[in-house]
């Protein structure tokens, strides 16, 4: 197990280095002068030349990359061209807001998905199953920016029940959480519904039913653990995506998270910030993948990671 984790961490480092190289090259070939981004449209050539020299922008790309990498391994992701602050500090400041939103949204979407999926599977091919199918498809189809705006206008502006955006305590979390969770909740319910349907048809479930267990008992006690496996994979990867920032939701709700930070960085061609947020997202995805694999073992003791059959 330890060897497996170490090997996966090694792969993770390779992925991160690869990501940094690709991002660095993309940033390098974009036809924009970082000195102009820093100095602004009105800067004179002397100022631009000075900035290029100071930042080492005149040096070959591999030298610039090596210097960047040397700083990154020490935890220094550089300074934002536009916000003039340490990128590491900016990410550290913004990540908690994204994390709390992502975890709440994930928790709500899992609750929604599991409840709807189990109910639909329990009443398979009956009216309630069909109704839940329509509901889940509707939830999946709702565009986040539309749903968020409607919730803000309806619940925030007209009903005055929730704050109009911003990050100011638990109540401000509710509308963005709902916005993010509804779509994935609907999706998870369909996954679980299908997965439960397959597991319920297996021999060991028939045996359990034959021994006198009710369908509900067989589903919850025996089928659920196996049916949850595909959901764990999906939710783990979704969580990594959510933790990397949710641009639309954060923008609509004025949520001070990583997504908005990354969006603004891209819009302003703030290369150190783009590099920092991309690397951070890649790191989260690598970690999430590893955690999902470990969670698999926890959920299904038959799985032995890294061991030959």
């Amino acid at each position: 197990m330890l060897a497996y984790v170490l090997r996966r961490l090694g792969f993770g480092i390779v992925v991160l280095v690869g990501t940094s190289i690709i991002t660095f090259i993309i940033a390098f070939v974009v036809p924009a002068d970082p000195a102009v981004t820093i100095a602004g449209a009105k800067a004179d050539p002397q100022t631009l030349a000075l900035i290029r020299t100071q930042l080492g922008l005149n040096q070959p790309i591999y030298v610039q990359y090596a210097r960047y990498l040397a700083r990154v391994v020490q935890g220094d992701l550089g300074r934002s061209y536009i916000l003039r602050q340490s990128v590491t500090r900016l990410i550290a400041e913004r990540f908690p807001a994204t994390a709390i939103l992502a975890l709440c949204a994930m928790a709500l979407s899992l609750v929604l998905g599991v409840v709807m999926g189990v109910v639909a599977a329990a009443y398979k091919e009956r009216a309630i199953d069909n109704i839940l199918l329509v509901v889940s498809l509707a939830l999946i189809s709702l565009p986040v920016f539309w749903l968020g705006t409607m919730l803000l206008i309806g619940a925030g502006f007209y009903l005055r029940s929730f704050p109009l955006g911003g990050f100011s305590g638990a109540r401000s979390l509710i509308l963005p959480t709902i916005t993010l969770a509804l779509g994935s909740g609907g999706y998870y319910s369909r996954i679980l519904h299908t997965s439960l349907g397959e597991v319920m048809g297996q021999d060991y479930i028939r045996t359990a039913l034959g021994k006198g267990l009710s369908r509900r008992q067989a589903m919850l006690k025996h089928a659920m653990a196996n049916a949850l496996l595909p959901l764990v994979t999906l939710a783990g990867l979704d969580l990594a995506g959510l933790l990397s920032g949710v641009v639309l939701t954060e923008t609509v709700f004025n949520w001070p998270g990583i997504g908005r930070l990354a969006f603004e960085a891209i819009f302003n061609l703030d290369i150190p910030l783009i590099m920092g947020t991309v690397l951070f997202s890649a790191f989260l995805i690598v970690v999430a993948n590893l955690l999902v694999d470990l969670l698999y073992v926890w959920l299904d003791p038959r799985i032995r990671l890294g061991e030959q059959p």
Partner: protein, 528 residues
Amino acid sequence: MRNADFLLLCALLLAVAAACKSGPPVQFPPGTRVLWLAAADDVPTLDPAVGYDSASWAYEQAIFDTLVRYGDANVELQPDLALSWEISKDATRLTFHLRRDARFSNGRPVTGADVKYAIERVLKPSTRSQGAEYYRGIAGAADFVAGRARQVAGIELPDPYTIVFHLTGPDPIFIHKLTMPFAAAVPREVTEKWGEDFSHHAVGSGAFKLSQWISGQRLVLVRNPYYFAGGLPKLDAVVELTGVNEELQWLKYEAGEIDVSSVPSPEFPAVMKSPRLKALTIHNVTVTTNYLGMNCQMAPFTDVRVRRAFNYAIDKEKLLALLNGRGVVARGVLPPGLPGYTPDVTGYPYDPGRAQRLLEEAGVRKGFAPVLWMRADQTMLLLAQSVQQDLALVGVNLVLKPVAWGPLLDAVRQPHNTQMFMLAWEADFPDPENFLEVLFSKRQWRSNNDTFFYDPQVDRLMAEAAPIADLARRFELYREAERIIIGQAPWVFLYHPVNYLIRQPWVHDYVINPMRPTRLEKVWISPH
């Protein structure tokens, strides 16, 4: 269930962490006079040596003081830290007498040495200040920048409350460069303590001091108890909520959560139809010219007839209609409100017939398809599509190329690269030099003269005008240069934007300055 427990535990832990990071909620005791504002973008910096954008300047000018400043609603010079000043006849020596009651928000008195230090800090290459270029004309600046001198010899301090600037040559607009926050007095001990983080620990002598700044959330300023002007500021605090998009700003305005807001385009007609809301709008013509540049070194724009034809072909009134009337048609380079502007300029009226004849004379064939570069922005795209339609009527098939801001700036500065582009220029100083010299002299090729325009007579007139302190003569020369530029038509002169804001009925004396962000010292709030 174990999964759910685990996730809930994580959520709880992060909620605590997040709550710590978000800081205490903004709450003020009853009766506190607070102005609530909102903006889409974060304030980039509060370090006056670094900031060079209106979001930073809005708050820098609230926290810091310069020797001189502009009026609240105009661009006339007024005393700030300096009570009085003298400028030598040849405009090479400026003497300022500072007030003795100015103090930083930490209680320390402000002296001339703080202004000198601030300018030296801007000039220091390691600061990478965008403002350095404005102070290179001070005697001794070159030696200081090159590391040959420990201080700028041309900034003299005969006593703590007098500061004298010696310039290497006549510069009648140097005093305007001292109104920029770059030249604001900063306390050396605080800047040296915090280094690059001074922005988050800014200490100045302005009407307000920094109280709280949480990236992506809010900036809170409170009154500076040591501010020299008695009775000011009239507000106890200013809160700017950051990251609030325009639509959300409008909802917050309508809900009474913010006191001043921009008006989103879709709401603008309804606002202007409502007498109640219209009365609450504030507007001012900005000292800005939006233009469509044509590269004078790239055929067929090397031919003045083609450039003139494009001027006649584009309907500027239609562009203003698309902006809901938020602009004034530009007839020349200089915007109204800029000293030296003359309303006598006629420019190019909309005349597609004449445009077509000029294009035929110049031998431009139907189907000519130049590329128009512009910022990938919804409004710019809308305007560019209107230009595209107008040019189609005269047989030109304009190709639109929307790109991000950085690549656009990079592209237009390359010679023989962009045939046409849409940009705007906003004045830094109220003087024609800031438009004409910067945008049309050959010295500015590969810098800000992006049309690569060159006219020897224009360059000569501008060189003659630059050192002249006599405004009548100076403006006369610049007007002549502008007249030639309009005739040569390197730009299609589009419009001067009008800035519209809307305030709540309880907000008073909130005025828009045509060139600088609104000053907040005199803004007041009635009980509501």
